[in-house]
């Protein structure tokens, strides 16, 4: 019996070794191909590290003259990001659940996934333009563009968290005669909540930093200022703005920690 079993192991690991080897070979080829495409040349980085130091020196010392202004702009960005993210979370919950293959059959989850793929793949600028022609220039158009893109991202991340859950607690609810929705509310959500909160807060944070869309539609905000001081070579101002952003991101990370702690 034992020898049979250990034979079985060896045979299996023989087969496994083959596929593993093939897998590694493919990986090496792909990485080599990508190495060329990305024109990787790590040595340069060390040879010319001095240049980086010189450039970095341009950023110090930060000038705090316009700090008030930047804080105001930070607040504007936060306002926009709040609604862009909140709407996205509200939509990503149903879409995320519908694109999880442990909750929805393939003829639902596949189309929903493709829709979400499109929301992510289509450039935010395109959405921004679409919304600009409907609601005019301004932060609202930016909010909407952020919302659509963020929905695509969150739905994907939400659904992958759902697929990684343990089926036990949901089965525990199912057998009480509860409906599908109750099963999700009481069996699934408690499991995924910490992760959902953490990816939502991450997207909130990255929406705060997303200057591009907002700048494009005249939405304003800190990202636009950052961009402009950088393009204007006012690096000491840039440094101040970055500090404001770092502080905001840090505070957010701390809030995020505390919120998540309540659910872990």
């Amino acid at each position: 019996m034992q020898s049979a079993a250990s034979f079985d192991i060896r045979a299996r690991s023989g087969r496994r070794r083959w596929t593993t080897l093939l897998g590694w070979a493919i990986a090496v080829v792909v990485l080599g191909w990508a190495w060329q495409g990305a024109e990787m040349a790590p040595s340069l980085l060390f040879q010319n590290a001095g240049n980086m130091a010189t450039l970095a020196a341009d950023f110090v010392p930060p000038t705090f003259g316009r700090l008030d202004h930047y804080i105001d702009q930070m607040l504007v960005t936060i306002q926009i990001a709040i609604w862009g993210t909140l709407l996205a979370v509200l939509f990503a919950i149903p879409f995320g659940l519908l694109s999880s293959d442990n909750l929805a059959p393939w003829w639902i989850n596949q189309p929903v996934r493709r829709l979400m793929d499109a929301c992510r793949a289509i450039n935010e600028l395109v959405f921004a333009m679409l919304f600009v022609v409907a609601v005019g220039l301004g932060p609202f158009a930016g909010t909407l563009a952020l919302f659509v893109h963020t929905t695509g991202v969150l739905a994907k991340l939400f659904s992958e968290a759902v697929e990684a859950t343990d089926a036990g607690p949901m089965e525990g609810i199912r057998v009480t005669g509860a409906g599908r929705l109750e099963e999700i509310v009481f069996g699934l959500i408690p499991q995924v909540l910490p992760l959902w909160i953490s990816v939502s807060l991450y997207r909130f944070e990255s929406n705060i930093r997303s200057a591009t869309v907002l700048g494009m539609v005249g939405g304003g905000g800190i990202g636009v200022s950052l961009w402009e001081t950088m393009r204007g070579f006012q690096y000491t101002e840039t440094a101040t703005i970055m500090l404001v952003i770092i502080v905001a991101v840090t505070l957010l990370d701390m809030v995020s920690q505390r919120v998540r702690k309540r659910f872990i």
Binding site: V132, V133, L137, G218
Partner: protein, 313 residues
């Protein structure tokens, strides 16, 4: 030299770059100079200028504003400028309104500003922001940020589309973008009415780093200035919408510098956070620099009554 020549190409407001459009020209350049030419197509100038500063690129094609930064900060020097396909030595900034708009000139607009929404350009745009800012607003002593019911900043495309759709009453634009819009979206272009056209804005310059070997410089100058004569070369330049190159130097930037200084002066004047004496001092300083610029420009005008200075009216 065996080192390839590194050529930075920025999408400026007056062009789009496609590697494929550039390739034949770059091949010719490589043949003529006998070195490999390595192009870098970048969408923003900041990194390209820094690269020039640390000798990571040898020459670059910039917009006027970015060329000024390259000259001031990265040891760059202008040696040529492009000549448009229609022979125009540059392009023009525009103010546009909707076809159905009751307003027909800048005075109408300024008179009714408090009722209107204004789509201003990106603050770094020469034709979308700097030029109209100076000629339309500063010269008329109007602050666009306060005069209009609402002022927004966006890029040319968005501004044009929102005016065509009637969401913005008046916006800045330029002739190059207009030409492209007429080809790609004749219906949208037809919705627009031009109510103001600026003086000529010099076309985009070519800049090399000053510390390039003299021999390379000579070869480059020779190649660019001599290009565009044969039919083959014309065919190569056609998709780039040029007919050739003209010699130029850092003085090409003088009008831009003037506008830039004027913008700074306006900012200082409007800055309430400065106390009166500091403000006075800064303004005086800026005025002095403006004067110096004016003198240089006059001197240059006198020397060569050239088209490119037509901006200063």
């Amino acid at each position: 030299a065996d080192e390839p020549l590194r050529f930075g190409i920025i999408s400026t407001e007056s062009s789009t770059n496609q590697a494929t459009q550039w390739q034949p020209f770059l091949d010719d350049m490589s043949d003529a100079l006998g070195v490999k030419v390595e192009p870098f197509f970048a969408t923003d100038y900041a990194a390209v200028i820094q690269a020039m500063r640390f000798d990571k690129i040898d020459l670059a094609w910039y917009g006027n504003k970015s060329a000024m930064e390259a000259v001031d900060r990265a040891g760059g020097e202008i040696f040529a400028q492009t000549v448009a396909a229609n022979g125009a030595p540059g392009y023009w900034s525009l103010m546009i309104v909707n076809q159905d708009s009751p307003y027909n000139d800048v005075q109408d607009i300024l008179a009714n500003a408090s009722k209107l929404t204004f789509g201003n350009g990106d603050p770094n745009s020469t034709s979308g922001y700097l030029v109209p800012g100076y000629y339309v607003f500063a010269k008329n002593h109007v602050d666009p940020n306060t005069a209009f019911k609402r002022t927004l900043n966006a890029n040319h495309e968005t501004n044009a589309l929102t005016v065509a759709n009637g969401q913005v009453d008046v916006a800045t634009f330029n002739t190059e973008s207009m030409e492209r819009l007429e080809i790609t979206h004749p219906d949208k272009a037809a919705q627009l009415k031009v109510i103001w056209k600026s003086p000529l804005i010099p076309s985009d310059p070519l800049v090399w780093r000053t510390n390039l070997p003299q021999q390379t410089k000579d070869e480059l100058r020779q190649f660019f200035l001599g290009y565009g004569d044969t039919d083959e070369q014309k065919a190569i330049l056609e998709p780039l919408q040029w007919s050739g190159f003209a010699a130029s130097d850092n003085d090409q930037l003088l009008p831009i510098r003037q506008l830039e200084l004027f913008k700074q002066r306006a900012q200082v004047a409007a800055d309430d956070s400065l106390d009166a004496s500091a403000k006075q001092q800064q303004l005086a300083e800026l005025d002095a620099r403006l004067d110096a610029l004016n003198q240089r420009m006059e001197a240059r005008d006198a020397a060569q009554a050239d088209n490119t200075t037509a901006m200063v009216d």
